[in-house]
Amino acid sequence: MSDDSIRDKAGPQHQHTETVGAHVAVHEEAVHHELPFWRHYIFSTDHKIIGIQYGITALLFLLFGFSLMMLMRWQLAYPSEIFPWKWLADLLGPERMPEGIMLPEFYNQLGAMHGTIMVFMGVVPLAVGAFGNYVVPLQIGAPDMAFPKLNMASYWAFFVGGVIMLVSFFVPGGAANSGWTSYAPLSVIATTGQTLWLIGMVFLITSSLLGSVNFIVTIIQLRAHGLTFMRLPFFVWAQFVTAFLLLLAFPPLEAAGVMQLMDRLAGTSFFLPSGLIVSGVPVENSGGGSPLLWQHLFWFLAHPEVYVLILPAMGIVAEVIANNTRKPLWGYKSMVYALIFLGFMSFVVWAHHMFLTGMGTTISAFFQTTTMIISIPSIVILTALFLSLWGGSIRFSVPMLFALAFLPMFGIGGLTGLPLGLAPPDIHLHDTYYVIGHFHYVVAPGTLLALFAGIYYWFPKATGRTMNETLGKLHFWGSFIFLNGVFMPMFVQGLAGVSRRLYDGGIQYAHAQEVLYLNEVMSVSAWLLGVAQIPFIINFFLSMKKGKKVSDNHWEATTLEWSATTSPPLAHGNFAKVPEVHRGPYEYSLPGHRKGFVPQNERVEA
């Protein structure tokens, strides 16, 4: 039996689920034993393996991107002082750290690549590639993704893109150094690393496009019988909307990336203006291009991208909160509508990143208005999540701690964005550390904490073992405290007007003098944040082998990935019996029910 025929029969329109389930089981037996190691674990088409591949790769990239930032923080706290780890300075070489002193060119590479790696190779692949791939088919009762081979292609395109980005550190002039936004014309005249950055981005974007098509088709076509849209777990909704954002927002950047490649390699001038003079020398190009066009194309991607980073995180938090409060989500439908509205609105706010480009007041007024409007659905979702806690019998499990911390952290991130969304305060705050603080609160203490919640929550599902709780709590408290130690002072520095792009942390500027001491506070916090990840790394690997074995439904959850399959799920086909859904996703603590929760696939109420 082909994959396609299994999928067809497992779709929501088919009634004979038990027969199909039997076929799937037989098929699983047959295929499981036939696949050689490299087909099973390396070039796998199984969504679970691909999800884990995405997860491991993304975690490694997150660690690498974080390490780049820890290096930067040395330079910011102790400008041009000799790096204490001589072996590392020697390893980095005289072109980056001669005699242990970090060169500005290397600092610029670290900055650009930290942003690129964390966003495109860390958070998105973890939030969408890993969690989406692993959890969505299980939550909707599907045997796999709709297009398993496309799924594999998506991972490998991501992998190749990531390798190209890493290789770029070793070309003459080093990696890309024009910021993660790669603004033209700076990026067009930058060193060779920028060319590799663009090629790498083309691969990463291609990967996202393949993935997004797959998610959309899977969620529409492969839901189990009875799983209507309003019965979908909120996490699936979040992935569904995210997939549309990826599908619609990424192509403009892919086109822009190819155009910038042409500017660099083929002598075109899409982004190079006429009369461009660099270092006092006129640039030999035809001219007539627009540097602002790049900014528009970039932010047309990058603002929806913010929601690509945050929506899956909200989805994870919603699952964990419902499960650990033992209550239905408060205002589930409102949350879903807010999510859809947020997805639409995310396409019409991009130019609030560009208030200082000289756009007219009319356009500026439009984008200020849309930016204020988009805050409403975010607040609806966040408020609903907060209210879901009210009156709940909260289990303070490790995933719940991370999920709870997400709420105020994302709140701070969101609320500090409001002044940036209005042009007058943005004149003062633009390009200062305030902006860095704002968006990091959204994606680091915000999204990353939620992603950790997801790892602790679904780890037992993927491995059949639970992660150590003491190490988990150590990881949580260390991360929570030091994340705030890194990012809270940035608001203070930003309000004082310290630019975000200073290689020496601002020592040359009079207005920065009173807040300079914060550089050291932030750097020490960043390094301690690194130390706080050690319990997680130990826990992650140790628990795979030594973790306490758990039952199939460790968290006593209602959604299908817990209630309808084993932990870990069957290698192929996921479910021994294709589940049928009879109720909404969060039927916890129903009055008169002994068990305290009713899984979605339970026909008769217990």
Partner: protein, 232 residues
């Protein structure tokens, strides 16, 4: 290894042959007319640069000496050496950034010769070469005492500048032979130990461009030529 030793041997014999029957070209570069008013370099943007000078610092674009000669003119053999090869000297040249000024303002370099770019200032300088034949480089030196060694393979004259301190500019001239000289405070130059032959000698100035002269040099001969640049 053997090939390298042989090459060195041939080069050494060439030098020996040439120098035992060699001649010199000497001369001065004069300046006529009114020199443009020297521009004051304002270093207020960086307190380190400002503190390095007690008196006003003037730009070196046109430096006319008290004897009416022109400083910072690079004089070199442009044609006449054929395909002769010359070993780069072992002596390392120093290109210093001191008081937020490049010293020297014009530097002649032989291909393959090492140039040590030194930052003597307790502030950040970036050294940006606007070279075209040789790979352009743009490297920062954030700390006092930092050094960077460079070599150049292609003959050309190019500007070097610092984007942090926009008044800082200097020129490097790279030549495939050792017959070049830069005029100093007396405006004189000398190209020594040239093999006998007919040469085209060129004088280059950053503002006034180039002038050439033809010279016949005999064995153990000293020829004198002069150049005159006119102010506008």
């Amino acid at each position: 290894m053997i090939a390298t030793t042989a090459t060195k041997g041939i080069a050494l014999s060439l030098v020996l042959v040439c120098c035992s029957f060699a001649g010199d070209i000497t001369g001065k570069v004069s300046f006529e007319g009114a020199p443009p008013k020297a521009q004051r370099l304002r270093m207020d943007a960086d307190k380190v640069c400002k503190a390095a000078h007690k008196e006003q610092v003037m730009g070196e674009e046109v430096s006319v000496n008290s004897n009416g000669t022109l400083k910072n003119v690079m004089v070199y053999v442009k044609e006449g050496l054929g395909a002769k090869k010359f070993e780069p000297p072992a002596k390392k040249l120093i290109f210093d950034q001191k008081g937020c000024i490049y010293t020297p303002h014009v530097l002649g370099i032989q291909t393959g010769q090492e140039v040590e770019v030194l930052n003597s200032d307790p502030t950040l300088h970036n050294v940006h070469s606007l070279s075209k034949g040789n790979p352009s480089f743009n490297v920062a030196q954030p700390k006092q005492g930092m050094k960077l060694t460079k070599k150049f393979d292609k003959p050309e004259i190019f500007k070097v500048k610092c984007e942090v301190h926009t008044w800082m500019g200097a020129y490097m001239g790279v030549f495939s032979h050792p017959f070049f000289s830069v005029t100093g405070d007396d405006g004189s130059f000398s190209l020594k130990k040239l093999p006998p032959g007919e040469y085209t000698v060129e004088a280059w100035h950053e503002k006034y461009g180039t002038q050439t002269a033809k010279v016949n040099v005999g064995a153990a001969d000293t020829q004198s030529i002069s150049f005159t640049f006119k102010g506008k």
